[in-house]
């Protein structure tokens, strides 16, 4: 537990120190939103209708960069070996890093909301709490398998290609559920479907946080 916190704090401290990289990541998310807006066209209704999708596309694409960096930091100067020989329990390493990634993704997701509101003229006709929960569960759902896969490819050549290829098929459920729930929060939810999607997100999180936690040990030692 103590180790989890230590690693969690350490990861966030490193991100804080290299604030320029964090700003670059936020800019990336912003550019994605801009490009989507240009590609879809200035017609307001299309933008507004799909605003939820844009948020999650931006978050997803940015997550590739974030997750890759999360392990590059470990491998860059051999810090991973120092941790392993600490000794740090692999599960603690996983949860510490995954939680740090979750917090960063959540932050990223949160700042895209005002951007989307501005660019797409989005509104909140549904319930805001649904939006908040969707954001939390969605980013958590990305963080868990993302951290596992980032660890897997950390020492591979050509790894930047592999992370999206491995990760994206897996997080389709998260994408579907998060976009739906967010969309219902933004456009209104007359039939109260949002809860079903949030439950799906919750199940996905429960399964993946456990599964990834268990498998991480094998991955990091290989």
């Amino acid at each position: 537990m103590r180790q989890t916190l230590a690693i969690f704090r350490k990861d966030l401290l490193i991100e804080w120190r290299t604030a320029s990289r964090t700003v670059a990541l936020m800019s990336f998310a912003f550019i994605v939103l801009l490009i989507l807006s240009f590609a879809i066209g200035a017609e307001s209704s299309a933008l507004q209708l799909h605003a939820a999708a844009y948020i999650w596309i931006a978050v997803l694409l940015s997550s590739t960069l974030l997750l890759d960096r999360s392990f590059r930091v470990e491998v860059e100067a051999g810090a991973l070996h120092s941790l392993l020989l600490g000794p740090v329990r692999p599960a603690a390493l996983f949860f510490g890093k995954a939680l740090a990634n979750f917090v960063q993704l959540l932050f990223l997701g949160t700042i895209t909301i005002p951007l989307v509101i501005v660019l797409c003229d989005a509104t909140f006709q549904g319930q805001v709490w649904v939006m908040a929960v969707a954001l939390i569960l969605g980013t958590a759902g990305l963080a868990a398998p993302g951290t596992l896969y980032a660890a897997m490819i950390a020492r591979l050549q050509g790894r930047q290609l592999m992370l999206p290829l491995l990760l994206f098929p897996l997080i389709v459920p998260v994408l579907v559920a998060a976009v739906k729930a967010t969309s219902l929060a933004m456009l209104g939810d007359p039939m109260n479907q949002a809860e079903a999607w949030l439950v799906l997100l919750l199940c996905f999180n429960l399964i993946y946080w456990c599964l990834a936690g268990v498998l991480f040990g094998r991955v990091i030692e290989s």
Partner: protein, 228 residues
């Protein structure tokens, strides 16, 4: 004196190449052993295997009387490795690095300050990225020192250092508790710090004996190869 390290017929293979073969080693609790050998002879592989970072392909390894493959954490609690890479986070300062690693290892805070002082880095708040090779080496040694290992494994601790740096590192090594296994090209300096030495050549032990004879063995190998 209980053996800290015991290997029987240790071997390690990468594809078709045997990086280590037939390595029998026994190291006692306070012994200091030097490993010399040409580049690519398997020194780093041996140290990594002793550090439990890599499994041997063959043979047995016993650390602190137990087989580390069943419980690596126990063995790791008592050993530390100074590898080629400094093993730190480039974006954090020396102090922050030590604090994180001490926290993970469960060491108390005063140890961090002591380690910083020993490394001579207490007045350097910059990130490690901006430190010189010598300072990074000192930081890596401080990381080692904080763990108070019963077995310290050092891979070329003198590499890239000037004579002043070498002297400082030598001093730090002298102050290490527990057993020390140390690979180095700087045979003369290193031999002064050790009790005995072994010569590795192409993954196998060619010679072992007292540390003060290490330089002769080293020379003999080069003569044999027609390099001297």
């Amino acid at each position: 004196m209980e053996a800290v390290v015991q290997t029987r017929d240790l071997a390690c293979r990468y594809g078709a190449r045997w990086a280590l073969a037939r390595v029998d080693l026994e190291i006692g609790a306070q012994e200091r052993v030097l490993i010399v050998g040409p580049n690519g002879c398997g020194k780093t592989t041996l140290l990594r295997i002793l550090a439990t970072l890599e499994p041997p392909s063959r043979g047995s390894l016993t650390l602190f009387g137990a087989d580390p493959s069943t419980n690596a954490l126990e063995a790791r609690r008592r050993l530390a490795l100074l590898g080629h890479a400094p093993g730190v986070y480039e974006d954090l300062s020396a102090a922050e690095n030590l604090r994180v690693l001490a926290d993970c290892a469960g060491r108390p805070v005063p140890d961090v300050d002591a380690a910083l002082r020993i490394a001579g880095l207490e007045n350097r708040p910059d990130p490690v990225r901006r430190l010189s090779a010598g300072m990074r080496r000192r930081l890596a040694l401080a990381v080692l020192w904080i763990q108070q290992p019963d077995l310290a494994l050092l891979d070329e601790p003198f590499a890239q250092l000037d004579p002043g740096g070498i002297a400082r590192v030598g001093e730090a090594i002298r102050n290490l508790p527990g057993a020390v296994v140390f690979a180095s090209h700087q045979v003369r300096h290193a031999a002064l710090l050790c009790d005995r030495a072994i010569l590795l050549d192409e993954g196998q032990i060619r010679w072992s004996g007292a540390a003060d004879q290490a330089e002769d063995a080293w020379r003999a190998l080069h003569i044999e190869r027609g390099q001297l």
